[in-house]
Amino acid sequence: MFEQNKLSVVLLVLIVQLQLILTFDDANSGSVSLNFEDNIDGKFSSFSKLNIHLSSQTNFDLTPSRTIPLSQYERLIDFKSDYPYYTLKVHFKRGATQDYVMTSIPMCLVLQAQFQYTVTLFVSENGYIVGVQVTTGNSTCTLSNINQIEQKTEYNYKATMRLQLNDAGPQPDTQRFLEKLKRQQEAKINSQDADNRPFILKYWKYLLPIVVIVVLQSAFTNEGGAPAAGGGGGT
């Protein structure tokens, strides 16, 4: 009877554990498929696709599916449109949810960096992509500078991607504060306890003047007659 009970408990625990793992798996391991698009052709077109698993790795390199020929690069430098922005659109799909996030930086910055930039994806608590950021390492540029950069026949995307997860908000640090208070208190008690030096050593500061006074007094009373007599002799 008892054995049977034990078995059923174990089974129950196992089931609960399995369920926990499953729910965890269901929500967390569901990989996110990403599709990167930019607007260098004048309209959005994909240049890289990626499937990532959250919580395993935070840095990725994008493998571009196309390159930018020199002609297009030069056309971009001459870009006289009223929309001088390089826009990166990231489509993401996670389970049944599908959406996109977007960011833009001046086109000139991307050209200057020759399509070498860092993409930061901000990932929310539930594993969805909240936002995206592109940085090239510069904030200003002029088109004339770009012309002087060595010319290549073909330009390649050299984009690295970083995932930034939500930080857990700070908690009031009562634990460490209390520990510190405890430490302080202990230190105080210890300092009192540790002081088991002999009485003389501990209070010599107070004892010494008394001793000196006593010694001096006794010396004066002893020699009281002699110096006075000596004085008398002098006059």
């Binding site: 729910t23 965890f24 269901d26 929500a27 967390n28 009223d82 929309y83 922005y85 826009t87 996670r94 949810t97 959406d99 996109y100 996030v101 977007m102 960011t103 833009s104 930086i105 001046p106 910055l109 930061t120 901000f122 929310s124 608590e125 539930n126 969805y128 992509i129 909240v130 936002g131 995206v132 950021q133 592109v134 940085t135 090239t136 390492g137 510069n138 904030s139 200003t140 930034q164 939500n166 930080d167 857990a168 908000g169 700070p170 908690q171 009031p172 640090d173 009562t174 460490r176 504060f177 510190k180």
Partner: protein, 898 residues
């Protein structure tokens, strides 16, 4: 005002019904879950009772409950309350008589509550069989006696909205027909009688004007404005009622109230209607089917108050009193007497519903203006003539003033004092507050005295919705800095009747006079967002920019966009899409020579939130100033602040995959759409109050796990080196370093704000309004996220305080002392001419205004400064130096002779 009682801010404070007795009244609140009695004489809460329920879980509280409260007409000391599934009775002495739970199902809903001398009757709708189950409970002990059912044609929602109960009658309106259903009161009688009254058009409202055991009066209002009044009389020894129409001619907008008094021969009926600034009253005595002794009164109101919203007529000791609440929130008490009507009380209750506040500097005095003028010219000759002419005019005005003083003495002193109150003081400490209330009344309030300078009421006003709150954009169109032009303020609001129409009203903040050129009620587009131009266009006026539903931007008044916005600095706008829970950033490109007055926006970024709901956005104050770019550390190095002016704080709420509720705080850059800070707090509840200023953010929330309020403070730093010392760009590749600390707050938080000073040199204080009525001023250094747990000499050198998890509040830092202010919804802070001083205006149910000195008074002399001692010692020194000089010369001469 004799006394006041402020109820809870949560659902228990929401009053469902008040039942009036001679000495005290019983107030039922919290969806029928609380009953309490207040004594009229002193406002003392005599007793309070809470409903005893077994199944009160927090999830159920969010579901809209239905509650009915009735006073038993046969036993006036007993009150029956039906709150969803709970039926309970209390006596007016504060005794809980009985309480029972009625089982409900999703198909069975308790709707009606009626009472007779023996039974309490509950009518519940069974939506499966479309029948109304009528259950009788004993009035003495709540025991179920018997039940019956009758066919019912209304659904639950219609039954709630279109039906009323009265004695043993249920009155329901069905288009043009009013059905009167008589519920039998005894077991012997099981006949349910239904009779009908026809109206000329669709019935809008049924109101019960008077109810007693034998007689009742109801009012039926149709949507064509026709109002009819019916009188019901109980037939002798049956439970049935006779009714007849009272012959009374009424205007479509008039209100009716009935008063009974023991001394009165019959009942008096009062008809009141508002007409512009006039209130008209007709008082008559009800006499069988007609009205007799009709008397008319009218009273002039001091201002336009819109329509009547509530009317109560009472006769107290032969004094006829009419209490009204007007559309503008005013509370009026009018006394009707033989010699006419008299307004005896007028309170602007609208002031308790402030939603937008702005402050304006007062105008310069004439002499200050002349000084401005004196040095305003260009060219040598014009400057010279200006100088001479202004000095001559100063001389003339001085003589005129002297003459005035001699001839008139102090006679127009009052007028002068009033004028002086409107003139800017030396340190620009006194201002004028422009407040907009949710009912559409705008007030101009002088901060010096708290007196209302002017008020304007806009009857067709409806505020915009902003997440869970309402707001009205209020802008400085022209500031008070241009002394040659009066300042101007604009408000933008929706039309009460057609919510897509937007109104713009521009007025002078000193007088409240409307500027008709800048006032319109017809914008040819639907407004999604409104903001102010960065550049002044004509006569120092800024223009309003509107984003319409097609994401097109327009200017009002119509000016080329290139004049309204800077063409060198690009303009970015963000909009929030509620249906997709996404922020979308737009870029606005303006060509310098472009004369277009409207243009399309181009999407540049998008931030989307999945499985979390955005509950609030917080932007920094436009007056926020950063004085120093960094903090000097203990080792004399500098830690540079990350002062991004494009940041907004976004608060979202959601439930994670483990079903744990969380609150997320994000700092979004509105130029690139990147996230600079994201904090997740689990098991935490909104409301989240935020202060965003300089390079830091402080937010508060309620921690459900520890049941306490907490504050988190985060600072953003660039680091030891500054990327660009002259300008800031959101495209700068800076990864801000974030430092955060959390603190436990000793009180809850209703509102939070930071002090503002002119140059931002003075240290910052956080002003916090607590639910217990205190306004607390807490130095920001107590919230500093750099507070170390173990204080090193370096930290001490820098002036950091050791970290303690709790923020200790001194009672000295309560800035309103014992003048407690309740239900504060917002705090407005403004800089003054003195760097040390910041103005604080807290608003909510109460208003509170004061000045605070976050770094003490470093640029002023103290009040107790001894001018005499300084004066006399100066004189003594001067005299002394002369004497000493004389002695010295004598001494010199003597020396020379030696």
């Amino acid at each position: 005002m004799r006394w006041r009682k402020v109820f809870e801010t949560n659902e228990y404070g929401k009053i469902d019904r008040i039942i009036w007795y001679d000495q005290e009244s019983v107030i039922i609140s919290g969806q029928g879950r609380r009953a309490r009695s207040l004594r009229y004489a002193d406002g003392l809460e005599v007793w309070q009772l809470a409903a005893t329920t077994t199944n009160t879980n927090s999830n159920q509280d969010t579901v809209a409950k239905h509650c009915q409260v009735i006073k038993n007409r046969y036993d006036p000391g007993t009150i029956h309350i039906l709150s969803d599934d709970l039926l309970w009775s209390v006596s007016s002495y504060g005794e809980m008589l009985w309480s029972i739970e009625i089982p409900i199902k999703s198909t069975l809903k308790n709707l009606f509550l009626l009472s007779t001398s023996q039974y309490v009757i509950v009518g519940s709708l069974d939506s499966n069989s479309n029948q109304l189950q009528v259950t009788y409970y004993s009035k003495q002990d709540g025991q179920q006696a018997f039940s019956s059912s009758l066919p019912w044609s209304f659904n639950a929602k219609d039954s709630l909205n279109k039906c009323s109960t009265m004695n043993n009658l249920i009155l329901c309106s069905n288009n043009e027909e009013l059905s009167i259903i008589t519920i039998p009161t005894t077991t012997d009688d099981t006949n349910v009688k239904t009779r009908h009254i026809k109206a000329s058009s669709k019935i809008e409202q049924i109101r019960i004007l008077y109810e007693s055991t034998t007689r009742s009066v109801i009012l039926i209002k149709s949507d064509n404005g026709e109002t009819k009044i019916y009188q019901f009389n109980k037939k002798e020894s049956t439970s049935e009622w006779d009714f007849n129409e009272l012959n009374i001619q009424m205007k479509s907008n008039s209100f009716i109230s009935i008063a009974t008094d023991k001394n009165l021969a019959g009942q008096q009926i009062l008809e009141a209607s508002a007409n512009d600034q006039k209130l008209n009253f007709h008082v008559s005595t009800i006499n069988e089917q007609t009205l007799t002794n009709t008397r008319s009164y009218s009273v002039e109101l001091p201002e336009n108050m819109g329509e009547i919203e509530y009317l109560a007529y009472s006769v107290v000791k032969n004094t006829q009193l009419v209490t009204l609440r007007m559309q503008d929130g005013s509370l009026l008490v009018i006394k009707l007497a033989d010699n006419g009507a008299e307004l005896i009380l007028h309170r602007d209750e609208a002031l308790s519903s402030i939603i937008s506040v702005e402050t304006f500097d007062l105008s310069l005095s004439i002499t200050q203006m002349r000084i401005e003028e004196e040095f305003g010219g260009t060219g040598m000759f014009s400057m010279f003539t200006k100088r001479i002419s202004s000095q001559v005019s100063q001389l003339i005005s001085f003589f005129l003033r002297l003459l005035d003083l001699f001839t008139h003495g102090n006679r127009n002193r009052d007028y002068l004092d009033k004028q002086a109150a409107l003139v800017r003081d030396e340190f620009n400490l006194n201002k004028i507050l422009i407040v907009v209330t949710s009912v559409g009344k705008v007030f101009g309030i002088l901060t010096q005295s708290g007196g209302i300078l002017w008020k304007n009421f806009f009857p067709n006003f409806a505020p915009f919705e902003h997440f869970n709150a309402v707001h009205v954009p209020l802008f400085h169109i022209r500031s008070a800095a241009h002394y040659t032009h009066e300042p101007l303020a604009s408000i933008v609001y929706r039309d009460r009747n057609s919510l897509h129409d937007t109104h713009i009203r521009t007025f002078n903040p000193y007088t409240g006079d409307l500027e008709n050129n800048l006032t319109t009620s017809s914008l040819p587009y639907h407004v999604k967002r409104v903001f102010l131009s960065t550049q002044a266009v004509d006569e120092f006026c800024k223009v309003l920019l509107f984003v319409d539903t097609n994401n097109k931007i327009h200017t009002y008044p119509s000016v080329p966009l290139s004049r309204a916005l800077s063409t060198t600095i690009p303009t970015y706008i963000y909009l929030f899409d509620k249906s997709e829970q996404a922020f979308v950033g737009y870029y606005l490109s303006i060509d310098e020579n472009d004369q277009k007055t409207s243009t399309n926006l181009k999407e540049v970024w998008r931030v989307s939130f999945q499985n979390e709901e955005v509950i609030n956005i917080h932007t920094r104050l436009s007056s926020d100033r950063v004085h120093s770019a960094g903090i000097v550390l203990g080792d004399r190095s500098v830690l540079y602040k990350y002062t991004n002016p494009n940041l907004i704080a976004v608060v979202t709420e959601g439930i994670d995959y483990q079903k744990v509720p969380f609150v997320n705080i994000y700092l979004l850059d509105t130029v690139t759409g990147s996230v600079k800070l994201s904090h997740t707090h689990k098991r935490v509840k909104s409301p989240v109050h935020i202060v965003l200023s300089e390079n830091w953010i402080v937010y508060t929330y309620y921690n459900q796990r520890y049941r306490r309020y907490e504050a988190v403070s985060s600072s953003l730093f660039e680091g030891e080196a500054q990327y660009n010392y002259s300008t800031f760009s959101s495209f700068d590749p800076i990864e801000p370093v974030i430092q955060s600390k959390a603190y436990i707050l000793p009180y809850g938080v209703n509102a939070i704000q930071v002090t503002t000073t002119e140059k931002g040199i003075t240290s910052r204080d956080i002003i916090m309004a607590t639910p217990n009525g205190m306004l607390i001023e807490i130095p920001w250094i107590l919230f500093d996220p750099r507070r170390p747990l173990d204080l090193t000499p370096m930290d001490r050198e820098e002036g950091l305080i050791m970290y303690t998890p709790e923020i200790m509040v001194n009672f000295e830092s309560v800035i309103n002392y014992y003048k407690y202010v309740y239900n504060i919804r917002g705090i407005h802070t403004v800089a003054t001419g003195l760097e040390s001083t910041s103005i604080v205006f807290a608003y909510g149910l109460d208003l509170f205004f004061t000045r605070v000195f976050p770094s003490r008074i470093f640029d002023q002399l103290k009040d107790d400064f001894d001018f005499m001692i300084i004066g006399w010692s100066t004189v003594a020194f001067v005299v002394g130096s002369f004497v000493a000089k004389r002695f010295a010369s004598i001494h010199q001469t003597k020396k020379a002779w030696k």
